[in-house]
Symmetry: C2
Subunit: 222 residues, 2 copies
């Protein structure tokens, strides 16, 4: 599939663009490949542009000055990564980091081209609005979890989400990795996982967490 066909299949506003706008997009868009573990957008250091995830998996996270992390949301096939182009939106006053969690292929629309489109097509402007609202909703969900839920509930929700993403009851994640996703310390994760094990919710082995009682994990997550 050529890049025009890919853009058409990915961008809901494609058919509402003028021909010249479509041409400009096609000419400027490029395919980028990232290896699992690669952080390809680093806050204000880079203003890469808008990524469309073609395959793979990406996480968007916050990084504190002292090196602590928390995952804000994940992006999968067909998702757009708006905040890697946030430099064109002067009112976006925060920095996010974007990392490939699996080998990832993405189409990159350069910053200047996307900005030009937003200025010239009300459809792109409105689409950008929806996109931002979706990400905003993800972050608000996270904030509610952090403020109003206990850690056992958040950890259950994370394990269940991970199990759905991986389509497996065996999760190959270190306690350190989970701590980075949830913005806490490794010890906190280890303590709670040990408690989960004693309650028969999971079983722990070297490098793998097996989800034993997904019904109860699901309940705990709610």
């Amino acid at each position: 599939m050529d890049i025009g066909a890919q853009l058409k299949s990915m961008l809901t506003f494609w058919d509402r663009l003028e021909t010249a706008q479509q041409e400009k997009l096609k000419k400027s868009a490029v395919v980028r490949r990232f290896q699992r573990g690669e952080t390809f957008h680093r806050g204000s250091e880079t203003c890469s542009g808008l990524y469309i995830v073609m395959s793979g998996q990406v996480r968007v996270y916050l990084l504190s000055e002292s090196g602590r992390e928390i995952t804000l949301y994940r992006l999968f096939e067909r998702d757009l990564c708006l905040f890697s182009a946030s430099c064109i939106m002067s009112d976006v006053q925060f920095d996010v980091y974007v990392q490939a969690e699996k080998d990832t292929e993405a189409i990159l629309i350069p910053t200047a081209v996307y900005e030009w489109l937003m200025d010239h097509s009300i459809h792109v402007a409105r689409y950008t609005n929806s996109l931002m609202a979706s990400r905003f909703s993800d972050v608000m969900w996270l904030l509610e979890q952090i403020m109003f839920k206990s850690f056992d509930s958040r950890l259950s929700a994370f394990l269940m989400e991970q199990s759905i993403i991986e389509q497996s009851a065996d999760l190959y994640l270190t306690h350190e990795e989970i701590a980075r996703h949830l913005g806490t310390a490794r010890e906190v994760v280890t303590r709670m996982l040990n408690y989960f094990q004693s309650e028969g919710l999971v079983s722990l082995a070297r490098g793998v967490i097996h989800l034993k009682d997904t019904d109860r994990l699901d309940q705990l997550a709610k």
Copy 2:
């Protein structure tokens, strides 16, 4: 000042609207008054429309099922309250509450009219974008505070912000009110304020917190 002149002075996109669009706005906008303490937008219960704060002060907060609160951001004169019109944005999947913190006068643009404007003016669509990005930035700031800062730092930042808003070193706030802003329990606030008092940062009397050492509070907030 008539409502047309007020809208012109408040809305940066006013001059870029067509005459018909300006007329529609003028005809549909109404002035609303809220008393200090009144919660005039309650999540998905209401879809009031877009408020423009003319005078007074407003806080936008989250409310948990169990009644806990946390303040997301404040709005002052000339600020627009976007999320009271969030029902027009299907991708906004969270509920906020809006409360007058002081007697407040606001212009209300009905939901249907604002939606129509977003659909017909790229300037309004782009403006809405910036507005959402600003609020998103506020919430991201809050999230960073919660995740990466200690409570003494957050409390100092809140006291200093409050002192700037009130232009006074005497804050007439109960510990319960501060707890609601910061999303914590009253006891936690009381304990930390007592500690601040013992360190000479504040002095506490019935119903009032006096900021004694704003330099050190400022430092602590950073």
